[in-house]
């Protein structure tokens, strides 16, 4: 088990290493002249040359990469070109804001996704199942940004229940702060819940038809024990994996949802950086997001192993 964790960690480090090269390569080597961005549109060639020199842009690519990556390893992500401030604190604030959104959505997705999936499976092909399936269908069929706009129109404009965008301030009280989170969180949850509920439904149905469930019934156990004690335990294994994949979707969703709700998180920062071609900011955001995604997958694998004795005891 310990060897397994170490192996997985090592794999993630390896992948991050390759990704850092990729990210750096794509952003730095491809066209789009950094120096001219920094120096401004109307700078003379001399100024640009000076900037290039200062930023070390004339060094060989691997030297530039090494310089960047050794900084990254000690938490120095360089200087934001546009804002002329260190990247690290900028990202830290945005990350905190995004994390609140992401964790809240993921928890909701996990709880309600599994709940819906189990109910659907038990009531297979009956009205409850069909209602749930229609509901989740709607969620997956519409892009986040559209749901976001619909939510703004309905809950912010007509009903006036929640603010339509921005981020709250803790000093105004918890409720006020939380009210800013409601619409983005609901939007994210709604678009992601279908993955979890559908997969849970199908693996639950499969489990309910399995021999071990038949055997549990043969012992005369009450249906509640059969469902929760026997079937759900195994049916949840694939759900764990899909939840990790959903973290990836969530990151994508956050980029869009934060834009819709003008929520100052990592996603909006990234879009902002891309629009302004702020390379250090882009590199740092993407690397960070990839690292988070990798860790989420590691967590999922560990959970999977925890729930699956075949891995725990070879």
């Amino acid at each position: 088990m310990l060897a397994y964790v170490l192996r997985r960690l090592l794999a993630i480090v390896g992948i991050l290493f390759v990704m850092s090269i990729l990210i750096f390569g794509i952003t730095q080597i491809l066209p789009g002249n950094v120096a001219s961005i920094v120096a401004g549109q109307f700078a003379s060639d001399e100024v640009i040359a000076a900037v290039e020199n200062r930023l070390g842009l004339n060094d060989p690519a691997y030297v530039q990469y090494l310089r960047w990556i050794s900084g990254v390893l000690i938490g120095d992500f360089g200087q934001s070109i546009i804002m002329d401030r260190p990247v690290a604190p900028l990202i830290a604030d945005a990350l905190a804001a995004s994390a609140v959104l992401a964790v809240a959505s993921l928890v909701l997705v996990a709880i309600f996704g599994i709940l819906f999936g189990v109910i659907s499976a038990i009531r297979e092909n009956r009205p409850t199942d069909q209602a749930i399936s229609t509901f989740t269908y709607l969620g997956i069929s519409v892009p986040e940004f559209f749901w976001g706009i619909v939510m703004i129109i309905v809950f912010a404009r007509y009903l006036g229940l929640f603010p339509s965008g921005g981020i709250g301030d803790m000093s105004d009280g918890f409720m006020s702060w939380a009210s800013y989170l409601v619409l983005p969180t609901l939007t994210l949850t709604f678009t992601l819940i279908a993955h979890v509920s559908r997969l849970t439904r199908s693996s639950m149905i499969e489990a309910m038809r399995s021999n071990y469930v038949r055997n549990a019934r043969a012992k005369g156990l009450p249906e509640r024990d059969v469902i929760f004690g026997h079937a759900l335990r195994n049916a949840l294994l694939p759900t764990i994996t899909i939840l990790a994949i959903d973290v990836g979707w969530l990151v994508g969703g956050i980029v869009v949802v934060e834009t819709v709700f003008s929520y100052p998180g990592l996603g909006r920062l990234l879009v902002f950086a891309i629009e302004r071609q702020d390379l250090p900011l882009i590199q740092a955001s993407i690397l960070l997001i990839a690292a988070i995604y990798g860790l989420a997958n590691l967590m999922a694998d560990l959970l999977y192993a925890f729930f699956n004795p075949r891995i725990r005891y070879g």
């Binding site: 397994y4 192996r7 997985r8 693996s203 499969e206 399995s210 021999n211 071990y212 038949r214 055997n215 549990a216 019934r217 043969a218 012992k219 005369g220 156990l221 009450p222 024990d225 004690g229 026997h230 335990r233 195994n234 294994l237 694939p238 994996t241 694998d301 999977y304 192993a305 729930f307 699956n308 004795p309 075949r310 891995i311 005891y313 070879g314």
Partner: protein, 710 residues
């Protein structure tokens, strides 16, 4: 043995009907079943796949879901199960009736400990504390013959061998002391040596506890071994029911006769004979006639058979659903008499030169790959990671196959027999060793094409041996085309000729595999193998997935072809009776090693390798005299080892002589005429003790009316 309780009736089934909603109206899975089981007795329900026997098990244990429409009554301990509401049935399940299903590996929940799965029924029904239930579990696990139950409780199912898993399931069924056990093919998924041990255990428990048992099986040998009475089920109806001794020795229904006649019988000194298959196949539940359902396949049928048949009592305890039973009882099942080439003559021809020689083949697998597929197949869940384990699948095997010879290869699951077969035809690469075909080393690539046409394979699984998206004709034609220069115009007639050879109608040319029955698909597989005009065919368990009556047909086709073409086979099977039936020589494989090889007669008579001996004694026979035969008891369920430096069988060997078995590789002892046994015990000593303890099966005779000898 505290005296069996008086003939208390445990189960009384009357007029049981089960039907399912089909696309064209209800389909009746079982019709008008009447039977009963008393305390202390075992009733076996025997039938082929599709006979409805498992539905019976589900019905009497109250496990049929709402999709089944059930009529009739099944009184368990005097109270009807069928009409009872689900809540009541649930209260009684596990308490009044214990149930054990077929596949122990999937019947145990992979995510829960043995402790939880064994105790939960008792905790729920009797409201005892977990601690108390645990103490009780220790007793019951001991009772079912499991060692060190204390440690066992903390294990997960995948850490147990198949035999242990089935024992755990039996233990969990016994926890609430039910008076009645329903066993649905409880030993079918197990190897025969383990099956024998489980059957002994069940018999033992029944005697000790005075249980009544309903035992569902497809295997007449198992029936003979365990049952007091037997009920023969055919296409949802009872064909015949009565005491085991009567039904097996004097079958009155033509179907029972046919079943017995189509079984290969394990006997060394006998004439080569054809098996007597039952022609045709079982009707689908939807298109059953009102008259006798067996009529289309019955050699004795007459016009009167189209009338509905009643189950009529013919003896005190025997009833038959056939108006002609009294006329048929003394008639033999007709066999197409076909003069087989005598083995003697074949021997003269074959010992000329070897066609295929395998020299010191070795192959190791790293465990992960295999187990991953198994896991996914069983649970549909991908396994992201698992530790690797090294398995020695073939551990230095040498053998040769003569021109026109059939070499049988027998072994249990995991013995490496299929790996060896695939290595010989180069479907997997070996780690070391050579395969010479017609004197040429085929492990070098240049010979590939010629070798491929001359060495072909017939596979095990009729469900996967044919590409489901390709019609039969083109599938065979492709094989013809690849290795010959037949013109396109002549192709169809070529393929049709091949269909003729395996006894299939030419109209099958345009059919798809799913339109064929399992036996027909296997015969297509044979035709496809023949298409390249091979000299050698690897038959990898070609009949294991088939019912006995169909198996007989396929075995006959293989035997005929072999004579007509002077083909050589390597015939792999886990079933020694089948191997002995078709082979000239037999090799016995255990844990990657060939432990004994010789002519069929030599292998079936002492001196045996101790493993061969155990295998022979474990096989359930249908001859009534052998039911109470003493058996060689193996010392453990699990093929332990892999690590052992000495004899791979030493951990289970009943004749282990000491540390030398564990630590020293046993010598190859050569007996008469190439008979080889790999064992530390001298051949003479083996011969002497074995002949004295266990009469060889040479004397085994077939039932007089089933043999077709007269």
């Amino acid at each position: 043995m505290s005296g069996r309780p008086s003939n208390a009736r445990l189960l009384e089934v009357r007029g049981l009907n089960v039907s399912y909603e089909g696309r064209e109206g209800p389909v009746r899975a079982i019709e008008d079943l009447d039977f009963h089981v008393d305390a202390g007795e075992t009733l076996a329900i025997v039938g082929e796949s599709g006979s409805g026997k498992s539905t019976v098990a589900m019905a009497v244990s109250g496990l049929l879901g709402s999709e089944a429409q059930v009529a009739g009554t099944a009184e368990l301990l005097g109270r009807d199960v069928i009409s009872a509401p689900e809540a009541e049935r649930r209260r009684r399940r596990g308490v009044e009736v214990g149930i054990v299903f077929q596949d122990p590996f999937t019947s145990l929940n992979p995510g829960l400990t043995v402790a939880r799965q064994v105790t939960e029924g008792l905790i729920h029904h009797r409201k005892v504390s977990p601690g108390k239930a645990r103490r009780r579990a220790l007793d019951v696990l001991g009772e079912v013959g499991l060692q060190e139950p204390e440690q066992l409780l903390e294990l997960y199912p995948h850490q147990l061998s198949g035999g242990m898993q089935q024992r755990v399931l039996i233990a969990s069924a016994l926890m609430c002391d039910p008076k009645f056990l329903v066993l649905d093919e409880p030993t079918t998924a197990l190897d025969v040596t383990i099956e024998a041990r489980i059957l002994d255990l069940l018999d033992d428990i029944r005697r000790r506890r005075g249980l009544g048992m309903l035992f569902i099986t497809h295997n007449l040998g198992v029936v003979n071994r365990i049952a007091d009475r037997v009920c023969v089920l055919y296409s949802g109806r009872i064909a015949e029911i009565g005491r085991k001794t009567e039904v097996l020795t004097l079958p009155r229904h033509p179907y029972t006769k046919g079943l017995l006649a189509s079984l290969p019988v394990l006997a060394a000194n006998r004439e080569r004979h054809s098996l007597a298959p039952i022609p045709g196949q079982m009707p689908q539940p939807g298109d059953r006639s009102a008259g006798c359902v067996f009529r289309p396949r019955c050699p004795f049928s007459e016009a009167r058979c189209e009338e509905p048949q009643a189950l009529v009592r013919v003896e005190e305890s025997q009833s038959v659903r056939c108006w002609k039973a009294d006329l048929v009882v003394d008639l033999p099942w007709p066999v197409e008499r076909r003069q087989r080439v005598s083995r003697k003559r074949l021997d003269d021809e074959t010992d000329t030169k070897p066609l295929l020689v395998a020299q010191d083949l070795r192959k190791t697998f790293r465990g992960a790959a295999i187990r991953k597929t198994i896991w996914r197949r069983r649970f549909g869940i991908p396994l992201p990671y698992q530790p690797r384990r090294v398995v020695r699948a073939i551990n230095g095997v040498s053998l040769d196959i003569m021109e026109g010879e059939v070499l049988g290869l027998v072994g249990e699951s995991g013995s490496g027999k299929s790996t060896l077969g695939q290595a010989i035809v180069r479907l997997i690469e070996v780690d070391s060793g050579k395969v010479l075909f017609q004197g040429q080393d085929v492990t070098t690539l240049s010979q590939e094409r010629d070798f491929r046409s001359k060495a072909q394979v017939v596979f095990q699984n009729p469900d996967s041996s044919l590409n489901p998206r390709r019609a039969i004709g083109p599938a065979i034609a492709r094989a013809v085309m690849l290795h010959s220069t037949v013109r396109r115009a002549d192709m169809r007639s070529q393929v049709e000729a091949l269909l003729d050879r395996v006894g299939l109608p030419r109209s099958f040319y345009d059919r798809y595999p799913h339109q064929l029955s399992g036996g027909e698909r296997q015969r297509v597989g044979i035709a496809r193998a023949l298409a390249t005009r091979p000299r050698f065919i690897l038959c990898d368990e070609p009949t294991s997935a088939l019912d006995v009556s169909v198996q007989a047909t396929v075995l006959n086709v293989l035997a005929d072809l072999r004579e007509e073409e002077r083909l050589s086979y390597l015939f792999i099977s886990h079933d020694l009776s089948v191997v002995a039936h078709i082979s000239d020589r037999v090799a016995v494989m255990y844990a990657g090693n060939i432990v004994e090889i010789g002519t069929t007669e030599q292998v079936l008579a002492p001196p045996f390798h101790p493993y061969t001996e155990a295998l022979l004694s474990a096989i359930p026979r249908t001859d009534p005299g052998t039911a109470e035969r003493s058996r060689i008891a193996l010392r453990s369920d699990a093929p332990v080892g892999g690590e052992a430096t000495g004899c791979p069988f030493s951990g289970r060997c009943p004749r282990r002589i000491g540390h030398v078995c564990d630590e020293v590789v046993p010598p190859v002892q050569t007996g008469l005429a190439g008979h080889r046994v790999v064992c530390h015990i001298p051949l003479e000593e083996l011969a002497a003790t074995q002949a004295a303890e266990d009469p060889p099966p040479n004397g085994a005779t077939r039932q007089r009316d089933a043999s077709g000898r007269r």
